[in-house]
């Protein structure tokens, strides 16, 4: 047991717990209303939204999994950098429109907007369900990140005692989300980011010094892991995989309900535009973080006898914790592990809020209790946020870890299929809601089938065009089919009477 690290860890965790409950009083609003609890009253300014969006993109799972991928697979794992670069021009161009129309009509979720645009509650239901199902395994993976760092501090009891720290962390998370809503992760995100910046900067400065500079670091990496494999014999190899993973993940990122929630909580359109310009600071940090995978490789941390147990248990996911334990004094390891664990709590809180907003607005109200009062609506969302988190906890404790990872992989494919309905609809009302629904269903089935053809081990599938083989991200291939169907079927269905509902929005609502 690493007592020094554990004590620092517990102290920092205690501090953010207090902060989470205190957050209820910050920019006070009536937390019995859904837009106050679930969107912090749409009053968040540039700086806080910056931290909140950063908290979304920068999760405990990212912190563990991105370096683990680089450590295990080399250059291909670096796609996280181009992905988080190209996402921001998209945020800049597209999301201010979503904010404007949502602000005008009090939409709280992407599915609210689709409902308002097309007046078709089945399409809205499809969008909401996709969001909820894609988010659940993501929350479970945050727990995995927390579990790995707790294991790194030597807390490795079996059975219930082993799960206890995780359960405590989640009870804390559930309690402050329930009482403070989105204000809690918004406030904690600030502390979390300071800790993460300190940790990553310390790693990318101290470790290369130990190795004798960045030149030596890259020299220690096997040649085959430094670059992507080149196209050969009509197979585009990792080239097309890298580019499609980057593009597809960028699309998926800003469709995830937790990103939409953070965007809609902004106090204005300019807050989003300004943020798009400054958020790449996170991408830079993420790139540095990816490089720590190479550092773990150069130092051969998986060969060190003291980490043999944990590598056997967590696989490559232990690369970063091992690197931290190997390089830093215990007290700093405590800070770093707290940064990772708190880095899991913030997105988990936002995700559970986003999922419960979706359930409440797009399933509970239209299908179960249309005559609810605003207070009942908010109450329902708070309870659902507890259920969502409890579900994630059960998931990670009782099911094999591999399931959560595979479901998260599928989640990215599924959420991408909401692009035609959510994003294209911001620009034109031309698409037909039933066509969108069919395109969505076919996209989900095709994408899932493609992932199944890889035994759910990889989302990259080979597409054959004549003699050319193009390995690419299944989400994009399925999306191509989804788009084609949505367009063709819209042309066919639009002349049919009664296939289109009422559009509540006007062209001017998207500008402001």
């Amino acid at each position: 047991m690493n007592w020094t690290a554990l004590i620092i860890f517990v102290l920092l965790f205690g501090f953010i717990t207090v902060l989470g409950f205190f957050a209820a009083n910050w920019r006070r609003g009536d937390l019995d209303l859904l837009h106050e609890w679930g969107l912090a009253g749409r009053r968040l300014g540039t700086l806080v939204v910056w931290f909140l969006l950063g908290g979304d993109a920068y999760t405990a799972y990212t912190f563990i999994a991105v370096p683990a991928l680089v450590f295990g697979a080399g250059a291909i794992g670096f796609f996280a950098l181009p992905y988080t670069i190209i996402v921001y021009p998209l945020v800049f161009l597209i999301l201010p429109r979503m904010w404007a129309v949502a602000h005008k009509h009090n939409y709280i979720t992407a599915a609210d907007f689709v409902q308002g645009r097309y007046g078709n509650r089945w399409l809205a239901l499809a969008i909401a369900l996709t969001g909820i199902i894609a988010t659940m395994p993501y929350i479970a993976l945050q727990l995995l990140g927390i579990e790995v760092v707790i294991g790194a501090m030597g807390v490795q009891a079996q059975g219930f005692l082993g799960d206890l720290p995780l359960i405590i962390a989640f009870v804390i998370l559930a309690a402050f989300t329930y009482t403070s809503g989105l204000r809690a992760p918004a406030m904690i995100a600030v502390v979390k980011d300071l800790l993460i910046y300190v940790t990553v900067i310390a790693m990318v400065v101290v470790i290369p010094i130990e190795l004798g500079g960045y030149g030596n670091l890259f020299a220690a990496v096997p040649e085959s892991k430094l670059l992507l494999t080149s196209p050969k014999d009509g197979n585009l190899g990792q080239y097309s995989a890298y580019a499609t993973l980057a593009l597809g993940s960028a699309f998926a990122l800003f469709l995830y309900p937790h990103t939409v929630t953070a965007i809609l909580s902004s106090s204005g359109r300019e807050v989003i535009r300004r943020n798009a310009a400054y958020l790449p600071a996170y991408s830079f940090l993420l790139g540095l973080l990816a490089l720590t995978g190479f550092m773990a490789l150069a130092l051969n941390v998986n060969k060190l006898p003291e980490f043999a147990d944990q590598f056997a248990r967590y696989g490559t996911n232990f690369a970063v914790p091992a690197l931290i334990l190997h390089t830093f004094p215990s007290w700093f390891a405590g800070v770093a592990f707290a940064a990772i664990a708190i880095g899991g709590l913030v997105p988990a809180a936002i995700m559970s809020i986003a999922a419960s907003n979706l359930f409440t607005r797009n399933i509970y109200v239209p299908f179960i209790n249309p005559d609810r009062t605003p207070q009942q609506e908010a109450k329902n969302a708070k309870i659902v946020s507890l259920i969502v988190k409890f579900g994630a906890l059960v998931f990670i404790i009782f099911l094999p870890l591999q399931y959560a990872i595979q479901l998260q992989l599928l989640g990215g494919i599924w959420i991408s299929q909401t692009i035609p309905a959510v994003i294209v609809s911001l620009y034109t009302p031309w698409l037909n809601p039933w066509a969108l629904l069919i395109g969505w269903a076919v996209g989900i089935l095709t994408g899932t089938w493609m992932a199944a053809s890889q035994a759910f081990q990889s989302a990259v599938v080979p597409l054959s065009l004549g003699s050319l083989t193009i390995p690419g991200y299944a989400a994009l291939y399925a999306l191509g089919l989804n788009f084609a169907l949505s367009i063709v079927l819209s042309a066919l269905l639009n002349p049919v009477r009664g296939t289109r509902g009422e559009d509540q929005t006007a062209a001017a609502d998207y500008q402001m």
Binding site: F92, A246, P280
Partner: protein, 67 residues
């Protein structure tokens, strides 16, 4: 004589600048090489890091131009 374009439309054309990062980063052959190195860092890595700053700069620029 063609009517002069709306000022807003003209300024929105600046948005097209934001296509550049997509081309630069999604066309892998541009950067999948070791040389030229920068401070010992292979081209593949420092090129992509450089685009963080270029993209950020482009967004700042477009934001000014489209007000």
């Amino acid at each position: 004589m063609p009517a002069p374009r709306e000022p807003q439309q003209r300024s929105l054309a600046w948005n097209l600048l934001l296509i550049i990062p997509f081309i630069a980063l999604l066309w892998v052959p541009f950067y999948n090489s070791i040389e030229p190195r920068l401070w010992g860092v292979p081209f593949f890595y420092w090129y992509q890091f450089a685009w963080v700053f270029i993209t950020s700069g482009l967004i700042v620029l477009v934001r000014r131009l489209t007000g």
